[in-house]
Every structure is written in structure tokens, then in C-alpha cells.
Symmetry: C2
Subunit: 244 residues, 2 copies
């Protein structure tokens, strides 16, 4: 099946992210997948390995956004509580998925343990997307993709997401780099924002960078509107270091 969504939210799970042990790195990968297919990531929440808390977040995000991605907490050990939490969010129980069970049993053969089989658990009613067309299928229940936190596996599972999720119009994005301080640009930016109401204009000062001082970004689902705003800005500002 293919899910169609306008907005997305991410729920990133893991004590290690909140205690400063690990730099979060899956969100940007997710954002970069969603943007070109036209799904707007509107919110990301990072929470500890707490079943009740995860369940309550999943319920709220699933209700408020088109598609939800969880990252983390799906391994074999005691601190992996996401499957249980997602099941609780939707009032279903946890079951062994026959396809995943076969994969686990094939891999571990006679060494297979209860811990290995925990990796084949899914909330009842979940489906695996990408079994036929992606190397690593992803678990989907209702509008929630349940993905692992290990960055290498998270990325591989995004291949399955990519082929089973569709947005509306892809986002277009351009940027202009100028050697002018952000504050000095304000009157011009206000004029550009007013003249191009459909375009999201972002202004990002860069410290300790010799080649430019401010990056101005133009984003919208209407690519022509983005081009028009970029051209208007570059014409009015005069000198631009480069555009992207």
C-alpha cells in the first residue's frame, strides 16, 4: 500500500539522546526524504525509553499529523519498549510477525533465543511495507512507521518508506548567500516576504565563515513562486556571493 500525507511528525526515542551520549542523526535523513516528495515535517519530539510516555506521544502525533515516524527502541533488550508502546497507543496487543519470525529463525537457526524473536514482534494489525521491493521492509501500523534507531538500519528502512509514501506537491528550495549582515537585510527581507506571501523565507547568519555572512532561503511547494522570490531578492540586494 501507499500512504498519502501532507504532514509528518517524528518521535525519536532513547535515553542516550537526552543524556548527551549520542548525537541524534536520523531526523535530518528523514527530513531530506520527506521534502522532495512533498511531505512537511512539522514536529519532532525526543523522549526517553518510557512505555507510557511513548504510547501517549504516538497517539497524539498519529491523530494530529498525516504520517508519524518513530526511531529507536526496537531491539531485543529490556530498554527496547517501542513496539509495546505503539501497540498500547492503539489498544492492540503485540504479536510475532510470521515473515520477520522466519527471517530471524533463518538467521540464527538453532541458536535462536527469545531475545532474537523479540525483533520479530509487531503491534497486531501492523503490516510490513517493502517486503518485495526493498531490502529492509519497514513496519507500518495505521499511519505510524516504526523504525529502528541505529542510523545505518534507519537509513536502509527509509528505502521502503520512500516507495510507500506519497505527499502532495514536492517542495522547491533555493538559497542565496550574501556578504551582508542579517540585520542590515531586514527591510529588504520584509519587502520580499510581503511580495511573495506563498514563499517561506528563512534568514541564517553564519559565524566564522569567510565567504558569506547570511544565507537566505526560499521554500514553497510552488517552484515558480520560489524562483520568482529568489530572483526578486537577488535583483534587489545587488551583490550575491552565490545561489544554490
Amino acid at each position: 500500500m501507499t500512504l498519502v500525507a501532507e504532514t509528518a511528525a517524528a518521535l525519536v526515542i532513547g535515553n542516550e539522546l537526552l543524556s548527551g551520549k549520542t548525537q541524534e542523526s536520523n531526523l535530518i535523513e528523514l527530513a531530506r526524504l520527506l521534502r522532495p516528495i512533498g511531505v512537511r515535517l512539522v514536529r519532532a519530539v525526543i523522549v526517553p525509553d518510557d512505555t507510557e510516555l511513548i504510547a501517549s506521544e504516538v497517539r497524539a502525533l498519529s491523530r494530529d499529523t498525516g504520517v508519524v515516524f518513530t526511531s529507536g527502541g526496537v531491539g531485543p533488550t529490556h530498554d527496547d519498549v517501542t513496539i509495546e508502546a505503539v501497540a498500547r497507543a492503539f489498544g492492540v496487543d503485540v504479536v510475532l510477525d510470521p515473515y520477520l519470525e522466519r527471517l530471524v529463525r533463518e538467521r540464527y537457526a538453532e541458536r535462536v533465543t527469545e531475545a532474537h524473536l523479540r525483533m520479530a514482534l509487531v503491534p497486531r494489525g501492523a503490516e510490513l511495507v517493502g517486503v518485495s521491493d526493498a531490502k529492509w521492509p519497514a513496519t507500518l501500523i495505521r499511519n505510524v512507521f516504526v523504525l529502528p534507531g541505529v542510523p545505518e538500519i534507519f537509513r536502509m528502512k527509509l528505502d521502503a518508506v520512500r516507495t510507500h509514501l506519497r505527499g502532495t506537491q514536492p517542495f522547491a528550495s533555493r538559497a542565496a548567500f550574501v556578504a551582508i549582515e542579517e540585520a542590515e537585510l531586514k527591510p529588504l527581507l520584509d519587502a520580499i516576504v510581503a511580495a511573495h506571501p506563498g514563499v517561506e523565507v528563512g534568514s541564517y547568519p553564519k559565524w566564522l565563515e569567510p565567504s558569506y555572512k547570511t544565507k537566505i532561503t526560499f521554500d514553497a511547494q510552488d517552484a515558480n513562486a520560489v524562483e520568482a522570490a529568489l530572483l526578486d531578492f537577488t535583483a534587489r540586494v545587488g551583490k550575491v556571493v552565490r545561489v544554490e
Copy 2:
């Protein structure tokens, strides 16, 4: 003044983080500051540059956690809405802070514009902490530190936070690295978790790493309990690659 808190939350603000333009990098710095002083970071939320949304998050996080940190949205341009949003969260208006105004006027002299002065705005009732002892004072209103998103400045402002925030007991943290797959460790980990109920035990598989397969972490505010759990684990597991 010094704020005393047991728990913290972070509100990270910026379209660029949700559109995949920028890798978020302030959270880990904040987490690493809080941990040794004994403040537990319990939640982080990333939202776009939306005044109403930021206001509502600030209100909720300020109510539910001991101390809140916002990151981002405090520059001079149209997309910098955090000061207005925090003011709205607490039902106060936005005013020019005389100390910040003087800094801005000194820096820009006769070139000073309304945009520059936007950087001296604070929610009414806010105070600057670290004016006397930190190079970069930080803005504090009630239990909310309002910090800039530019990583270099965020880090500098954390110096002011460090001297004006106190937790309860510092967290102790140890880790053991073993060349054993996570799933095989599960029975032992369950036993360690049961034997050391005050210690948070984390298990992190490492892919594509030749020297070890799983990192086991032990965290608690009771340093002796952490040492005991680490020793118990290393004694029972037999061979450990290294401990930290």
C-alpha cells in the same frame, strides 16, 4: 540568581531543522552541561518558526519541567519570533532591555537600526543572568532560558547557564564495551536490571565497528550504585573489551 531544578526540557526552534537544511547540534551540548550538575533532560521538542505554536509549547514545558531551554529564533529578522512567543506564553509584553540596548548601540553606533535593536528585546520581567561573570549573558524568564540557535553563540551562553543553574545530585555514568551481540546479552542484562533497580541500564548495538558489538551503559545519581552495577556486569559477562 541561581535556579534549582531536577528536570529540564528543550524547545528547539527552526524551519531549517525540520526541512533537512541543518543538522541540529545544540541538544547534545545542553545535555552534556546538564548531566554533571544533576539535571535530567526529559524531553526535547523541535518546532517550526510559528509564534502560537512556540508559545503553547513554552507554556506546557515550563509548567511540566523544572527548567526549560529554548534554542533559536532570537535574531533580527521576520522569522525570529521566539521572544514574542515566550512573552505570549506568559502573558507579558516585549520590552527593550536597557543593558542589551546599550551593548547593541555601542556596537553599531550611528549605524544602529530597528533590526539591530530587535536583538535587545526581551519578554517583560526577564532577567539577564551572567552579566557580571559570563562573557555572554543569557536571558531567563521564570524558569525559561531563551538561547540563540547559532551553535557558536549557544555554547557561549551556556557558560552563563552553568553558573546560574543547580541540580540535585550529579549523574554518574559508566559504560562497558563487549564483543557479544545484544540479543545474547539479554538474560544477563535482565538479571543486572533486576539486581540494580536504581540504575538505568542501556544497551546499544554497534554496527560496522570492529572492536566491539554492544555498549552497555550504567547511569544513576548514586555513583556507588553505578559502580556496583558495572562491576556486577563485568564480573558476570566474563570478557569485556574496555570500560569507560
